[in-house]
Subunit: 223 residues, 2 copies
Amino acid sequence: MRDALLGAAFQLFLERGYEGTTVDDIVALAGVGRRSFFRYFPSKEDVVFPDHERCLADMKAFLDEGDDTADDPVRRVCDAARLVLRMYAENPTFSVQRYRLTKKVPGLRAYELSVVWRYERALAEYLRGRSAGRPGGTLHADVVAAAVVAAHNNGLRSWLRSDGKGDAEAAVDQALGYVQETFGGSPGAAVAEAPEDVVVVVSRRGAPLWRVVQEIESAFGRD
Amino acid sequence: MRDALLGAAFQLFLERGYEGTTVDDIVALAGVGRRSFFRYFPSKEDVVFPDHERCLADMKAFLDEGDDTADDPVRRVCDAARLVLRMYAENPTFSVQRYRLTKKVPGLRAYELSVVWRYERALAEYLRGRSAGRPGGTLHADVVAAAVVAAHNNGLRSWLRSDGKGDAEAAVDQALGYVQETFGGSPGAAVAEAPEDVVVVVSRRGAPLWRVVQEIESAFGRD
């Protein structure tokens, strides 16, 4: 019945537009009562994004279940973000239709932003827990979570714009790879788990080598 | 008159709650007509966030006016984000009241997310322009814009939670400093503009020094 309601809703959204379709229209086409609709979907917006609640719960469970002593936290949140991609990739036609609809309807756009925000908060909360008590821990957590979401969405959107024809996983893997390169081994990770700290030295290519070595010795606490 | 409407609105929001206050209540307390209200504010939400439209316009103007051949793009978007902070810091009492109100009212939270999204898009569009045609340019732009917004908001919120008593600029400077360290000199910036590349060397603190120097020599192309 849930699938029948979804099918009816999207047929009507495409024919009459989202705003021009009521819940009564949807249940009439699906041949069920209003009460059945609201058993599956709290509101009309939820028909457009029917799987986000489940996906958010899966993401939190995935984050809770990992081995915190072994996993790199940046890698873990990247893997958690991939659960969202998988939900989209399960049904390309539906995802592409929804993408087009969401771009056109401001109310859906706002709803989607609130969903994305909840994913981002789930990732940030996890990272905050992993870096608890460390100076700059919440800042690092918030920035990494935002970067992961932005990269995931960049990959996801490029796949949606290709009408779901390209390789969704490859697009998102590449985007998340960039975030892992940028933040992997940063304060949330290596300083916490590795017994040996990581030292990052940034220098201009033109700097004299003796000057660079001096800086490294000082960073390593060997001078 | 705009200030009188703002004052009346916030007094009522605090007394009766946001949902329990109508535009009629606000204009009655301010002693003006409904038409005056809608001249200044398109909706009730806009009374809560009265300066974001101006700030967004200021941000776009600031980004347009800079010298693209000289400025580091990551630094520029960080400076653009500081315009938002300044708007909040201009009126700490109002900003703290609004922060508390927004946390309690889901509709305002959704409105705020849409505003934050527009700032993020403005920063990302600018960065996309600066890295146009470069491989990974849109990904880099989207990730940096999200990181800047997350860092800014982390600093801003910690100031708001201190009831506007701490140093707002210092909190945000520190947060944005972290983003500049992370992304400054990355593909959008130094590789494009600086004649001397930046070399980043990452090593474990426990590594033998000779091994580190070897890696650096190789990174600097001196071996």
